[in-house]
């Protein structure tokens, strides 16, 4: 299926106050795709969105829209609409007028405006909300108004800046499905910014992982999850055990004092590499059958599975298993060749430790500080 490139960024760089936010970004976005820009806060993903919307101009490089440069085109002349993070609904207008805002500017006849707003309200499940004051709506309802207000203009591209960040978990899950459906139904290209990797994996056609102003990896959600290119991507997407290893030969990786069969080749002999093993890909076996042997230091019940922390030669592994083991148990681990993912060393190597300091509480705390930074 050949798809048209609707937006291209060529050699884009952008600095704020002397700090480089985006560094030589090159990418293209295909028509009608759902692409997610994923990265930790401060990685430059929102800046990228604002460049496409026209609220910022790049220091260097060109932004192309359907092949034409749009660096100097003001936001109001771009066929791009934005759903803002905190919705930015107009407080002096009711729901109807907020949604009709773009159409009124186009001076459409009243009849048509009425009909289109009505259709749009039906699309976002807000029938009968026309006369409501936007400030008295719940977060989820405001969100829908914001989406309707953008979609009614039939943009070629819809930009969404962490639109679900302010919603609670349940509502967020529902909205993820709804957004995906809306995107399919309308055939509009969605460019979606988030720092929530789960959201990115479940909604997108394409995920782009960004860190420190540079694109780390572009691919389908499965590619990104199964074949991370470096330690950063592996750590950011899902849970991973990231270890130092050596490729002793093609299809032979040595780490944690054991040489494993693997499916990767093409490395130099004895090249130092990063090894990724996902927690769900490790099997717990009796000691004598284990490729690796270690002591269980912690077990947490997670509903579907247990999360087990195992100390192997001082490195704390995380393992997910449906079988219970007790803290203090001596267990063996077995890893299939295709569960071992080998990556070249990068500047992100050794930045991510083991699971020795891991706790849910810590993770939540860091999530909170992330939200405050936004």
């Amino acid at each position: 299926m050949k798809q048209e490139k609707v937006i291209q960024l060529q050699n884009i760089s952008k600095s704020f106050d002397g700090e480089k936010i985006l560094n030589n970004i090159n990418l293209y976005i295909r028509d009608k795709e759902f692409i997610t820009l994923l990265g930790p806060s401060g990685c430059g993903k929102t800046t990228m969105l604002r460049l496409i919307a026209g609220f910022e101009t790049p220091d260097e490089g060109t932004i192309l829209f359907e092949g034409k440069p749009i660096n100097d085109v003001p936001p109001y002349q771009r066929s791009v609409n934005t759903v803002f993070q905190k919705y930015a609904l107009f407080p002096h207008l009711n729901v109807f007028e907020n949604i009709a805002f773009g159409l009124r500017l186009k001076k459409l006849p009243e009849e048509q405006i009425r009909k289109q707003v009505k259709d749009m309200l039906a699309l976002v499940n807000l029938k009968g909300f026309e006369r409501r004051n936007v400030e008295r709506l719940s977060g989820g309802q405001q969100q829908r108004v914001a989406i309707a207000r953008a979609l009614i203009n039939h943009p070629k591209v819809l930009l969404l800046d962490e639109p679900l960040a302010a919603l609670d978990l349940k509502l967020r899950k529902d909205m993820q499905v709804e957004l995906k459906n809306m995107q399919k139904r309308t055939g509009i290209t969605f460019i979606y910014v988030t720092h929530d990797q789960e959201e990115a994996l479940s909604m997108s056609d394409t995920v782009m992982v960004i860190a420190e102003g540079e694109i780390q990896q572009i691919g389908t959600p499965t590619d990104i999850y199964n074949e991370p290119v470096n330690a950063f991507v592996a750590d950011f997407i899902g849970e991973s055990n990231i270890l130092d290893g050596v490729m002793t030969a093609d299809y032979k990786a040595t780490f944690s004092g054991h040489t494993f069969d693997c499916v990767d080749s093409g490395f130099e002999k004895n090249e130092k590499v990063d090894i990724v093993v996902r927690p769900e890909d490790v099997d717990v076996v009796p000691c004598e059958r284990g490729m690796l042997v270690g002591d269980v230091t912690g077990v947490t019940f997670k509903g579907v599975h247990y999360e087990i922390i195992v100390d192997i030669r001082g490195f704390k592994w995380m393992i997910q298993s449906t079988d219970y083991v007790a803290p203090g148990d001596h267990i063996g681990l077995s890893i299939d060749p295709d569960a071992i993912h080998v990556m070249k060393k990068s500047r992100f190597s050794n930045m991510f430790g083991d699971y020795s300091s891991f706790s849910d509480e810590l993770e939540k705390l860091s999530d909170l500080s992330e939200e405050e930074n936004e």
Binding site: P75, T82, K86, F90, H92, A150
Partner: protein
């Protein structure tokens, strides 16, 4: 409502005493004088005497309206420009706007006279440059100029405070939905600054309609505003009571117009100002 503790009531007592002593009591005095004769008997004569001043009253309203509108026309763009400036520049500009307010109104008006008078600074300058002198003091224009000059800050400050607190994302959203900069102004910024405009209008209109000093000095005695009339009545113990009745009626009229304006602003902004 929750019953207040003794401590809470004691804490609010001084304010209550203050309000009774300096706000309620004077109002009662004004009302008392308005309906009595010098010997203390009840009468409607003072109210009836108002008809003698109807023309002055209308003239004052017109003058106040004109200066209020001029203040709005100058003040809104000024406030808008200030709120677009950098935070540092905003501080300085607001300081400059407020600076004249720290000086007494009388002194400001006197210095205006010194500048605008027939033999004053401006005319001296004009003559030196070879132009004909302009007669300013004593014209209606001078009075309006004086009002605008003195009361402009009261228009700029509330409008600035509303515009500078506007959520800039709303402006981006409007831009995003197809507004050029002019339309952002008319469709978003202007409607959202209505509360500031309303308080600016009242804060300029009220002192404009009751001023007496500006008209006396810059009007050169040619004009009489209702403020002058009231002042004159109060300078003579015999006409004290007429002065009180004019004050009372004017106060009521101002209250009515304030109520109308507030109603108007409520419906415009969907209850944005409390």
């Amino acid at each position: 409502m929750k019953k207040r503790t003794l401590l809470e009531r004691m804490a609010s007592a001084p304010h209550l005493v203050w309000m009774v002593l300096f706000i309620v009591a004077p109002l009662l005095f004004v009302a008392y004088y308005a309906f009595t004769t010098p010997d203390g008997s009840f009468t409607f004569e003072n109210i009836a005497a108002l008809s003698n001043h109807a023309e002055t009253f209308l003239f004052s309203v017109c003058m106040a309206l004109i200066s209020t509108v001029i203040c709005l026309l100058i003040g809104y763009p000024l406030a808008y420009c200030i709120s677009r400036a950098s935070a540092r520049a905003q501080k300085i500009l607001i300081m400059l706007i407020m600076l004249p307010m720290w000086m007494n109104l009388l002194i400001r008006t006197y210095s205006m006279m010194a500048i605008l008078d027939d033999g004053g600074f401006l005319n001296n300058l004009l003559m030196r440059l070879g132009f004909a002198p302009v007669h300013i003091v004593g014209t209606a224009g001078a009075v309006i100029f004086g009002m605008v000059y003195n009361f402009l800050p009261y228009m700029v400050l509330p409008i600035h405070s509303v515009i500078s607190k506007l959520d800039w994302r709303l402006i981006e959203a409007a831009n995003d939905l197809g507004c050029n900069n002019f339309r952002v102004l008319t469709r978003v910024i202007l409607p959202l600054s209505v509360p500031g405009i309303i308080s600016g209008l009242t804060m300029v209109f009220v002192p404009s309609i009751s001023t007496f000093y500006i008209s006396q000095k810059l009007g050169g005695g040619t004009f009489e505003l209702i403020g002058d009339t009231i002042e004159r009545q109060f300078q003579n113990p015999v006409t004290y009571h007429v002065g009180a009745s004019i004050s009372l009626v004017m106060m009521i009229l101002i209250l009515i117009s304030l109520a109308i304006m507030n109603r108007f602003s409520d419906s415009e902004t969907g209850g944005m100002i409390a």
